[in-house]
């Protein structure tokens, strides 16, 4: 027992190894000796792009057990060469931080607080409101009789932080709906 335990006592190691002053290896704990960057044990490393400004820095997203464990610059990127600014460096906190909203919140007209609402219910309610608004505000022709085929009761703002595919579907669906008031930060 003692023979087994004694070598784990740094003082004993001080006496038996070159580190007599106990300033180096003798003082190292087993945890320190076995330390590894957590990224080295990631299940997967996913190629990504920084979501902040438009420089488009490459990111590596490290995943373990279905969770993002780190986000770092991608050294392979010829744009960013592995670097990230403070915002890009904060990406892990952005995507995993406690500030993120994870549940639908609903505010009834005139209410003073949020309520809970299921996602399905919210989607259904939104679909109903879109159709009702469209019905109520539909314009077929202008005063001169030119076709308009549109609704001015619906508007949308945003897209500069979205994916191209998302912007594409929004533009496609809104246009098919006859909603033309679609805008984003590019105007601003």
């Amino acid at each position: 027992m003692i023979r087994k335990l004694l070598p784990t006592w740094p003082v004993a190691r001080q006496l038996t190894t070159a580190d007599h002053l106990g300033r180096g290896r003798a003082a190292q704990s087993p945890q320190s000796a076995g330390l590894r960057a957590r990224t080295a044990d990631a299940d997967k490393v996913v190629g990504s792009v920084c979501p902040y400004c438009a420089v488009g820095c490459g990111q590596q997203v490290f995943v373990r057990d279905g969770e993002v464990i780190a986000v770092e610059g991608d050294p392979d990127s010829p744009i960013s060469r592995g670097k990230l600014c403070p915002k890009g460096s904060a990406t892990h906190q952005l995507v995993t931080g406690p500030s993120r909203e994870q549940r639908v919140r609903y505010r009834r007209p005139h209410a003073s607080e949020w309520e809970e609402l299921s996602l399905d219910e919210a989607m259904g309610m939104i679909a109903d409101r879109v159709l009702a608004t469209r019905r109520d505000t539909w314009q077929d022709l202008d005063e001169a009789g030119n076709p308009l085929r549109r609704t001015m009761g619906l508007a949308s703002l945003g897209g500069a932080t979205l994916d191209n595919e998302e912007n594409y579907l929004i533009k496609k669906l809104w246009t098919a709906l006859g909603a033309i008031q679609i805008e984003n930060q590019a105007r601003i």
Partner: protein, 841 residues
Amino acid sequence: MAEAHPVGFQWVVEAQRRGATVIHVDPRFTRTSALADVHVPIRAGSDIAFLGGIVNHILSNERDFREYVVAYTNAATILRDDFVDTEDLDGLFSGWDPDTRSYDISSWQYAGMAAGSAAGNREIATSAAETTGAGGAKLEHGDPPERDETLQHPRCVYQVLKRHFSRYTPEVVEQVCGVPPELFARVADALCDNSGRERTGAFCYAVGWTQHSVGVQYIRTASIIQLLLGNIGRPGGGIMALRGHASIQGSTDIPTLYDLLPGYIPMPHAQAYGDFSDYVRRNAAPTGFWGHMSAYLVSLLKAWWGDAATADNDFCFDYLPRISGDHSTYQTLQDMLDGKVNGYFLFGENPAVGSANGRMHRLAMAKLDWLVVRDLVEIESATFWKDSPEIDTGELRTADIGTEVFLLPAAAHTEKDGTFTQTQRLLQWHHKAVEPKGDCRSDLWFTYHLGRLLRERLAGSDDPRDRPLLDLTWDYPTEGPHDEPSADAVLREINGHDADGSLVSGFAELRDDGSTSCGCWIYSGCYADGVNQTARRKPGHQQSWVAPEWGWAWPANRRILYNRASADPDGEPWSARKRYVWWDAAQGRWTGEDVPDFPAATPPDYEPAADAVAERALSGREPFIMQADGRGWLYVPSGLVDGPLPTHYEPHESPVANPLYAQQANPARELVDHPANAYNPSAGQPGAQRFPYVVTTYRLTEHHTAGGMSRFQAHLAELQPEMFCEVSPQLAAECGLEHRGWATIITSRTAIEARVLVTQRIAPLRVQGRTVHQVGLPWHWGGRGLVTGDSANDLFGLALDPNVHIQEVKAASCDIRPGRRPRGPALRRLVESYVEQGADT
């Protein structure tokens, strides 16, 4: 650039290490200035005068790259004889109609032809300014514009330019901008010395140039300089827009914008065009690549309406809703305030903080029936009904606000597949790393499933208005636990398919007979060869410095646009040092470091036949292939609503009188007449002295836009934890502001408070014999998040650039006084006292 795009700035630092001179022009001494070789403090809102001074310097000293200018720009083109310049009309160009506050642009045209623009407003003469887009031209065959390659003709663009800018002397630059002549000369000389065959110079800008009532003309002035110096289409040259959001370029290319369809095809205008053929006739160009516009449009319609789109029904062209005026966000805002808008969607945007005149936005949202907010966090725009500043002032009462609000949590970029288009037009795919938690979903999911629900609800409808929705191709495969639609499938649709359903390799394969489909023609080729080109991540160090195998740039993976101009007219590089793309006679092709932005097999000596169309109508020596005349435009005969040449106007709100003309501000600027949008009087108007200081806004490195992605993160919030204003020691002394104390900044819209940072980094300037003080405001704060503060955008009114409807928030006037702002209703009383006194005095 170091402030807002630090990682991009690494290339500036590297260039500097290799000997480049870095010049930073900014009202403030920023983190960029700290490393720049030269910092030029400038009065906010005076850049055209500064750049115009450089144009004058180039022209009066003949420092232009003459061979490039003659061959590649419209310098030699001769203008109509009825064009009259601002220099002769005291600040107005010919064609001004004071009743409509707009120009008739016919007198701006080339002699002998009417040219359409490659981008911008192309149908000005016949319709409202909203029919924007990238358009065609009106070059009648056999009738090319008259040219004088000696540049001596008095009406050639070169001479017009020279006369126009001759007044922009170093002395005028000093008078307008507050930049001393020695400093100005240093900048002008450095630019000229670093341009030509052997060297190139680049401009970088951000919203410091766009957010003005003359924003487009700012960039135009830079374009003139770069064309005169031969810095367009060449490595190390260009004008770089440093855009601020991950995919703001993408959301312009595939526009969530009212006036465009994907690929800069204009939205059809109700009054401007009749049917499909009329639309195509008036938008397609006989010359340049816009000559294929009908193929791009038909392929788009096929992508959207599939089998329902046939030649017989004009490919469902009538399914497209029509615009009839300005429906931009600020127009929508007014309509919302007037109760005309019922439902509003916010996708990752926070107008309560991020848009000018935030108060107006919050008041307007209180008039909505319903609001859907999709964001990562509980942003100010989602909670205006309970904690907006207007609740505190008593202007809004929660119980009175009938707006129904849905806050739907969004998925982060790590939780979805998709592409961002960054600021150099590079599409980069990001892979999903993990599933989103809870109710978090991607906007792809939201839009797809919303569309699915709408279609389900309308199924069986025989109302013609529902046909576009029911006929829509909306059958994307879904995957995973949340039935996430496949972003890959969407990208394939964007790339386009041929008649066999195979992916096309580029926009050259698109046809206007309905045999091809393509969701965005400029993105066509992003999935060439069945490979997601945007997902390519070949390490940069394993390829050439152009790194063509990282991601995919539109169009056709070209990294520098108009790069034919990097070779001389004969196709030889201008110099060995600056070689980029050149004609390889042996192969009979253009070749080089990049994909040539030119028909690959069109030799330099190609001359078009009289009946040639589209790109075949341009000669082998005309690099600007999107332009009707194949040339870079020093002078813009068509496409802009506020003048063919940039000219200095004061900002809409300015304490300084325009020393050049009686015309104080851009005559064509758009104004919003609304009580919530009162304006400060400008110099020369009664009460102007109530707002004696210039105010400008900007970003800080530590924060992002309206703060939704930074004020809520502790590691960023701690770095800039409070709203502050930057003032010079002199202004602080003048107003009694105390360093680290509080200041209240007041405009006609509202008053906000900020901590006071007294710093020499924002120096007062001498302008027209008087001292002009500037107040600097970061605009990241709002009422929610880990760190909160007043929003700088609340101070600004809506005065817009008439070409693009972008608001002027980079230069306005204000007052500043020590202490915190009043609370409650007293805040409005303070502001009203300013407005009233301003009007009276």
